[in-house]
């Protein structure tokens, strides 16, 4: 928890973008059904007819919310290179202040941009190697495969394989960044990272797997807890928002914890 300031900073920026999306969504919903008594029905729980009728009459609602959503997500993706630079810098140098975070973020942003770009290319390469031959082979899946069960299980297996390989690239990417903080040359850092990853593969991989599984579990748990939370009283809205944000913070905390674990293994 020493990095709590970094966690709060990342969470706050993410929340800010989330609020912008939420405000836009509120305006769109309010503009279409804001004066309707159907809201009383909606307060009791999800009502498909209300949403269907709204989308039928105001089809732009979905595309408006969607475009704001996508633009904000892309913005956060870019921003996250900056945030990773600050966070990993703090973790590597055992620094904990916001000012150190910002200084590291500024210092390593461009270098990390290079690592992120190379990692993205590697990811695309791996995905292409796995999926292009499969799609080529698949043709009409119902005729190629004995049954849809074998088709679905094959797809699930390939998804798992993709995830397992992407974890390797991700670990390589994070280690490269740590070595970049230690020295300035990108290629050298990536070579060192690959060597370090190979030497201690199982320990690193365990961190990667745990991080992935914990994210999946957190998302699943959230859907279990929240499902269709009612909106009959203000406290229920407040409760929903509190729970949502607790889950968001946990997610960021788990990631920071994972980064610190990778750093610990690297330093041993």
């Amino acid at each position: 928890m020493k990095h709590w300031k970094s966690i709060v900073l990342i969470y706050s920026l993410q929340l800010l973008l989330g609020i912008l999306v939420a405000i836009m969504a509120f305006q769109q919903l309010d503009g279409s059904i804001g004066d309707s008594l159907e809201l009383d029905r909606l307060a009791l729980g999800f009502d498909r007819s209300i949403f269907s009728d709204m989308i039928n009459r105001f089809p732009d609602i979905i595309s408006n919310i969607q475009s704001r959503f996508v633009v904000s997500a892309l913005m956060f993706m870019l921003l996250s290179i900056f945030l990773h630079a600050g966070l990993l810098g703090n973790i590597r140098k055992r620094e904990y202040s916001i000012s150190a975070f910002l200084r590291n973020a500024k210092k390593y942003f461009l270098k990390f941009l290079g690592v992120a770009s190379i990692s993205l290319l590697k990811t695309l390469f791996i995905l292409a190697i796995i999926w292009v031959p499969f799609i080529e082979y698949m043709g009409n899946p119902l005729e190629t495969f004995h049954s849809e069960k074998s088709f679905i299980l094959t797809v699930i297996s390939l998804l798992i394989l993709s995830a397992l390989l992407i974890i390797v690239i991700w670990l390589w990417s994070i280690l490269s960044r740590y070595y970049l903080i230690d020295e300035s040359r990108l290629i050298e850092a990536m070579k060192k990272a690959w060597k370090g990853l190979r030497l201690n593969f199982l320990r690193y991989y365990l961190v990667g797997i745990c991080l992935l599984i914990s994210h999946v579990l957190i998302t699943w748990l959230y859907t279990l807890v929240v499902d269709d939370w009612g909106a009959e009283i203000w406290y229920s809205i407040l409760g929903l928002i509190v729970i949502q944000q607790v889950f968001s913070i946990i997610r960021i905390w788990v990631r920071v914890f994972g980064f610190a674990a990778i750093d610990n293994v690297a330093k041993e």
Partner: protein, 639 residues
């Protein structure tokens, strides 16, 4: 005692006795009473060549002339010839169907049917007299209706007997009938089936013998069926009717003979597939047989439960199920286009590995097809000319049954907080059309150029829900029960249904103008969208309009700030409503507050409030915002 030993001993004993190994009948024995006029009766012997995907068949037809006319020809549906090539009326403008490229099919992938011999009971050979006719479009290359001129005319009330031989070759499944990989065979609409000689709307007798065209299904007379199928013994065979005997063929290894008997059906279909696993159960007096492909076996209990719920509900709200058995066929996914269909006492469904229980598309489909046993199988309306009479009622009951057993807000799916009832889905299929005024419902299937399902299934069902909400479920049930009871095992038409509706409404002294309502629903393209326009507390006035030409009475509930309420009647023939109150403290106004008019294109604009409850808007905005946080967390992983 060792069970296997006992069975083996029994088999040896039966073989010694010179018999094949027959098993006992599936259906209960009191199913021999006559329920229908038994006009078209068939004894068919089938010899299936599974390698050639074809069958050589012998058919003895007994057909009764129930008309006052003397007939000099018989007409037969030869549906399989629709899949003979791309020149048939069914396929002539089609190059792709369900994702299949039909243009590049090989010869063996096409289907066909031909009568190779037809002899009447006096020994007259009619084979050379037969000719294909095209009563609808004159397309001489279409061979889906066969005319068989007779040597001896059939007098009114007389029965004709015809011994026929025919060959049927299945196509690789395009839609319904056909074969699929690994010896899957679905034989439906597969034999020369006599068309219906009936009175038209004007009272004139004649052949109702439409060519097979897209947008149309089937229409035939009731009768008894004895069908004997000889096939390779690696196939599991199921079909309409009761499986009376099944066993090996004496002296022939690797072959089996299965015999089905069925009474008072309008058609007979059967299926064969080596991988089927059979599940059986009994509910009340009805045997349920489910043929599942192995990878779908986890769905067997869902199929079974859906059939049981369908039976329970329809017996209570429509009438007793008239048959002793129902067979549910689960087509392999590689031949999915053979699913989604109803045949008397047999339905084909569809599912896919991994569909969760909270998504009830499986149950919805099973219940839909099963409801056809009532609306199509028993009330055998003309699916070609008046498809809404079966599909509309079936969708209506699919909605009612699903919503009754699983709740009207979540009966179709309930996933991650998003949910839908089945009736909601049906309504949305209609009100969500790009153009809800696209066309009328009451017209033949071949006249549709788009919107068939949305109008025939969804709009009709939604209109029936609206009617139910107006007259009440009890009266609606009385109408449907009377309709079923009076017209079962006949070919009811719109006029028959409407006469029952009028009669029941009159008996119950209902003020509902059903004629005006049904005229608009069925014979016009009119739609209705009530809109509350304004509340003006300066003058105490509310204003509302009705978009669309559909005239229907409704009411407006106005609420005042002191909690007082007043209901105003709004006559259907008025397009606008303006009402001024003495009080000037109106809080809200709500058109059709009980949402009786389910046909309304947009229910959200029916009301207006000056004190809106915005809590749900905050909730959904917060949810969307949070999902942004989740997605950005995941997508930023690689950055």
């Amino acid at each position: 005692m060792n069970k296997k030993w006992t069975i083996n001993t029994l088999l040896v004993f039966m073989t010694i006795m010179g018999m094949s190994t027959y098993v006992s009948a599936q259906c209960h024995t009191d199913y021999n009473k006559s329920q229908s006029p038994k006009i078209a009766n068939y004894d068919i012997e089938v010899d299936l060549d599974h390698n050639a995907k074809s069958a050589a068949c012998i058919q003895k037809l007994k057909w009764k002339n129930t008309s006052p006319d003397t007939l000099r020809e018989l007409r037969f549906y030869m549906y399989m010839n629709a899949f003979k090539d791309l020149k048939s009326t069914y396929l002539k403008n089609t190059r792709k169907m369900f994702g299949q490229d039909l243009k590049n099919r090989t010869e063996k992938e096409w289907g066909r049917i031909e009568v190779t011999q037809a002899i009447d009971k006096d020994g007259n050979d009619l084979t050379n007299k037969q000719k294909y006719i095209q009563p609808n479009d004159g397309n001489e290359l279409d061979e889906t209706v066969l005319s068989m001129p007779l040597v001896d005319p059939i007098l009114p009330g007389e029965e004709v007997e015809l011994d026929m031989t025919f060959n049927v070759k299945l196509p690789r499944t395009i839609v319904r009938s056909g074969y699929g990989p690994r010896d899957f065979f679905l034989f439906v609409h597969w034999f020369p089936q006599v068309c219906v000689y009936e009175q038209n709307q004007e009272g004139t007798w004649g052949w109702n013998s439409h060519q097979f065209m897209q947008g149309t299904e089937f229409f035939s007379d009731f009768g008894d069926y004895n069908v004997t199928i000889k096939a390779s013994d690696h196939l599991v065979i199921g079909g309409s009717g009761c499986k009376v005997t099944s066993g090996s063929v004496p002296g022939k290894s690797g072959e089996q003979v299965v015999t089905f008997k069925a009474h008072d059906l309008i058609d007979f279909g059967w299926v064969a597939y080596p991988e089927y696993e059979t599940y059986t159960s009994t509910y009340g007096n009805t045997d349920i047989e489910i043929l599942m492909v192995p990878e779908h076996c986890a769905f067997a209990d869902r199929y079974l439960k859906a059939i049981e719920q369908g039976l329970e509900y329809l017996e209570k709200h429509v009438g007793p199920y008239p048959y002793p058995k129902i067979t549910v066929v689960d087509p392999p996914t590689h031949t999915l286009n053979s699913g989604f269909m109803e045949y008397p006492m047999m339905i084909t469904c569809a599912t896919a590995y991994g569909i969760p229980r909270s998504v009830r598309s499986v149950e919805s489909l099973v219940i839909h097809e099963f409801a056809h046993m009532y609306f199509m199988g028993t009330l055998a309306s003309n699916e070609k000319e008046e498809a809404w009479l079966d599909e509309g009622f079936v969708t209506y009951f699919e909605d009612r049954i699903l919503d009754h057993y699983h709740g009207d807000q979540a009966s179709l799916f309930d996933v991650l907080g998003a949910r839908s009832g089945n009736a909601q889905q049906s309504r949305n299929e209609y009100v969500g059309m790009d153009n809800p005024n696209l066309g009328t419902i009451a017209r033949p299937g071949w006249e549709f150029d788009g919107g068939f399902k949305s109008l025939i299934y969804a709009k009709t069902a939604t209109a029936l829900h609206t009617m139910e909400r107006i007259v009440g479920q009890n009266m609606m049930d009385e109408i449907i029960k009377t309709y079923f009871d009076r017209h079962k095992f006949t070919h009811p038409k719109e006029a028959d249904l409407r006469s029952i509706i009028s009669e029941v409404l009159e008996e119950n002294e209902s003020e509902f103008d059903a004629d005006k309502y049904l005229d608009q629903v069925l014979h016009t393209t009119a739609s209705v969208d009530f809109k509350m326009i304004s509340i003006d507390n300066a003058t105490g006035t509310i204003k509302a309009i009705r978009d669309g030409d559909f005239e229907i009475d409704t009411e407006v509930l106005v609420t005042f700030s002191d909690g007082g309420k007043k209901t105003i009647r709004w006559d259907g023939d008025q397009k606008e409503l303006e009402y001024t109150f003495k009080a000037i403290d109106i809080v809200s106004a709500y058109i059709d507050p009980d949402q009786k008019i389910y046909l309304d294109l947009n229910l959200n604009n029916n009301s207006l409030t000056l004190d809106p409850n915005r809590k749900p808007l905050y909730k959904y905005a917060a949810k969307i915002g949070h999902w942004f946080q989740v997605v950005s967390q995941w997508t930023s992983f690689m950055m």
